[in-house]
């Protein structure tokens, strides 16, 4: 008899695959794993369902009783009482039918609505090639021209000052292009100084001459006519477009070896982050005029935009600093070893990677800033969340309307911010380079 019990074995028929037992597949499995994995989990599931039930039963009637056709809140209430019985609550969306344009355009003259509409559509067109690299690159030329075009369309007046601003940038670009052969530092200085000199000394006389020769003017609209989402998006889009470059510069400044540049960046960032935004907005509306030469009439929206930009830039700088710190030292060393100078190394190697890491933080800052534009109500501007609803409530017909404006404005903010967040996720996926 053999000492080993192990018998030789050769399989003759291969087993066909079978379906898993029903308790291990499909809906049953999903429920077990996700909702009823343990008794504690089951209790949590049941209580969550109960809370959701409470919320829905509480709010559903309000939406179900919505009234779209009425001329005043009182009429809304009468209709709701007639249809659903005395004491029933319901949404009075009739207010939106009458006043939606104020939520969107503020007090912009209705006969000129085509201008902000063109600006909104232009914004989509200008932002598209920046967001989606698949689109033809020539579209970026429109994106470059768009900000000045939007300013002219929104505020109106003579086109010449706007053209002059563009010409200044053109002069700066030419200086950079042609002096770069001589010396890169000279080129950068010239690119900054030449446009400033042009704007300070040449624009005034040139504007006079040109405006008389060819008056290219459309009807001007003052800043106090702006309001609602027109105001929020103007400040938000301007702030987003300006705060990213400023934030990058501040983050690099904070990392710099040069003492003065480093200290200035640190002081700026820490000061701005240490002060509430509302303080800065009051500075924009009240204090800034004291520091400016008397007689300068510096537009309130522009002032607010500058302060909001500075505020967001300080946060973005810190977010990007985190991205810079996350890069291994080897990336800097490899760039140095290949002979790339500081700016080329930053632009080609360091920033593309640091910004990619920082995307979630940057987008959070953008979303936060866009929502914070509603704080301009404190300096007397008509933001969509408080300024416009308060104005509507001042009308006797809509006195006492409370939730409807919040729900409507909240929904629009949600759509815009949620798109930003989804875009950021798409971008992160697109830029993913490892493990593909």
């Amino acid at each position: 008899m053999s000492t080993s019990q192990t018998a030789a074995f050769v399989r003759k028929d291969m087993l066909p695959p079978q379906d898993p037992p029903t308790s291990q597949a499909g809906l049953v499995k999903w429920l077990r794993e996700n909702l009823f994995a343990s008794w504690f989990n089951a209790i949590l599931t049941l209580s969550s369902v109960f809370v959701i039930y409470l919320l829905v039963t509480h709010f559903y009637p309000w939406f179900r009783h919505s009234v779209w056709n009425a001329n005043s809140l009182a009429e809304c209430r009468t209709i709701i009482a007639a249809n659903w019985g005395e004491g029933a609550s319901g949404a009075c969306w009739a207010m939106l039918r009458e006043r939606w344009h104020q939520f969107i355009f503020g007090f912009y003259p209705p006969e000129l609505y085509w201008r902000p509409i063109a600006v909104f559509l232009g914004l989509l067109l200008a932002v598209a090639p920046v967001l989606f690299t698949q689109l033809p690159r020539q579209m970026l030329l429109f994106s470059l021209a768009y900000p000045l075009l939007a300013i002219w369309l929104l505020w109106g007046g003579s086109a010449w000052p706007v053209i002059m601003i563009a010409a200044g940038f053109g002069i700066g670009f030419l200086a950079l292009r042609f002096l770069d052969e001589v010396s890169s530092i000279l080129a950068i200085v010239a690119a900054i100084v030449a446009p400033i000199l042009f704007w300070l000394f040449a624009v005034g006389p040139l504007d006079d001459v040109l405006s008389k020769a060819i008056p290219l003017a459309i009807e001007p609209v003052a800043s106090d006519r702006f309001g609602g989402f027109l105001l929020a998006i103007t400040i938000g889009a301007g702030g987003i477009a300006l705060s990213l470059p400023l934030g990058i510069i501040l983050a690099l400044g904070r990392q710099s070896n040069m003492f003065l540049i480093k200290s200035c960046s640190v002081m700026f960032i820490e000061f701005i982050r240490g002060v509430p935004l509302i303080t800065l907005l009051f500075v924009a509306s009240l204090l800034l005029n004291y520091f400016l030469p008397p007689g300068t009439n510096f537009d309130i929206i522009l002032r607010v935009m500058i302060l909001v930009t500075m505020f967001a830039a300080a946060y973005i700088a810190e977010v990007i600093r985190g991205g810079l710190a996350a890069l291994p030292r080897g990336q800097y060393e490899a760039a140095d070893a290949l002979g790339l100078d500081y700016w080329k190394a930053q632009r080609l190697i360091i920033l593309p990677q640091a910004l990619k890491i920082s995307i979630p933080g940057i987008v959070s800052t953008f979303i936060g800033m866009f929502k914070d534009t509603t704080l301009v109500t404190f300096v007397g501007l008509f933001d969509p969340l408080k300024g416009i609803p308060d104005f509507i409530r001042a009308d006797f017909n809509w006195k006492g309307i409370y939730w409807e404006p919040f729900v409507f404005v909240g929904a629009i903010f949600f759509i815009l911010n949620f798109s930003m967040s989804r875009y950021a996720m798409y971008l992160e996926r697109k830029l993913k380079r490892d493990h593909r």
Partner: protein, 263 residues
């Protein structure tokens, strides 16, 4: 004494050391704060030399070769690379860096760029070579390191050995006169070490001036014309590989060799 374990014969016809001085280091000292990392380093490297720098960790070998392209700054003495003295003058530093290629322990490829873009970046932006020409050069060197088919992938998709060969190709695309290797195989699996060393041997066979910090003593015996042993920030001994391995002079060198070759 172990024999070099490279199967193929090494072609020495182009390995000629010329009289032209490539790197001259005179009385160089370096401190990290109070710590004296490099002490009175004197070294002359001629064009075409293949030098292996060995020594225990912390002996300053990496720091020394990193001073040659000024990834590290020296505090006293002179370093002259290809006739250009390294001072705080940024122009000189950039000039030296574009003449001196460097390969790192952790490859340091740019993960957001394809292999091809990694190789063409510096030629396009530093040497101002047209993109098409830079790509042709890059493909030539990628073929040399035997990975032309990976050109459009990203570094994260390649194995360690492949990444290091790309890093070598990336340096070569700048057509450097001198190559520095800072422990190029220390982060690699044994199988991959060989493919990287083979690439380095080919480079040596073409007459490239090379300074390699490495623990691969087989490589040193096969291609180096000089081995330098460092300890405590100083050059303790330097000799041709045959005498260095068979007849070390200093006690420190003997101890080091017995530890790394003993088993």
């Amino acid at each position: 004494m172990t024999e070099p374990h490279f199967e193929r014969d090494i072609d020495r016809s182009h390995m000629q050391v010329s009289d032209e001085v490539a790197i001259q280091i005179e009385n160089m000292n370096k401190w990290y704060g109070q710590f004296h990392v490099l002490r009175d380093i004197n070294l002359t490297v001629n064009q075409g030399e293949r030098i292996v720098i060995a020594g225990p960790s912390g002996s300053g070998k990496s720091t020394m070769i990193r001073c040659i392209n000024r990834l590290e700054e020296h505090q006293s003495g002179r370093i002259i690379v290809d006739g250009t003295e390294l001072t705080s003058d940024l122009k000189n530093i950039d000039k030296v860096r574009s003449e001196v290629g460097m390969v790192f322990q952790h490859f340091n490829l740019f993960p957001h760029l394809t292999i091809l873009e990694n190789c063409t970046l510096a030629p396009i932006w530093v040497r101002k070579i047209p993109k098409k020409e830079a790509e042709e050069t890059a493909m030539y060197f990628l073929e040399k390191v035997k990975i032309p088919d990976q050109a459009l992938k990203y570094p994260g998709q390649l194995s360690g050995g492949q990444q290091q060969r790309v890093a070598i190709a990336r340096s070569l695309c700048m057509k450097p006169r001198i190559m520095l290797f800072d422990e190029p195989t220390s982060a690699l699996d044994p199988e991959m070490i060989k493919e990287v060393l083979d690439t380095m041997i080919e480079l040596a066979e073409e007459g490239m001036t090379m300074l390699c910090v490495t623990h691969e003593m087989g490589f040193a015996q096969a291609v180096a014309n000089r081995v330098i042993f460092m300890d405590q920030g100083q050059i303790v001994e330097q000799n041709n590989p045959h005498d260095f391995f068979n007849n070390p002079q200093s006690e420190r060198t003997k101890l080091f060799l017995s530890q790394i070759l003993g088993h």
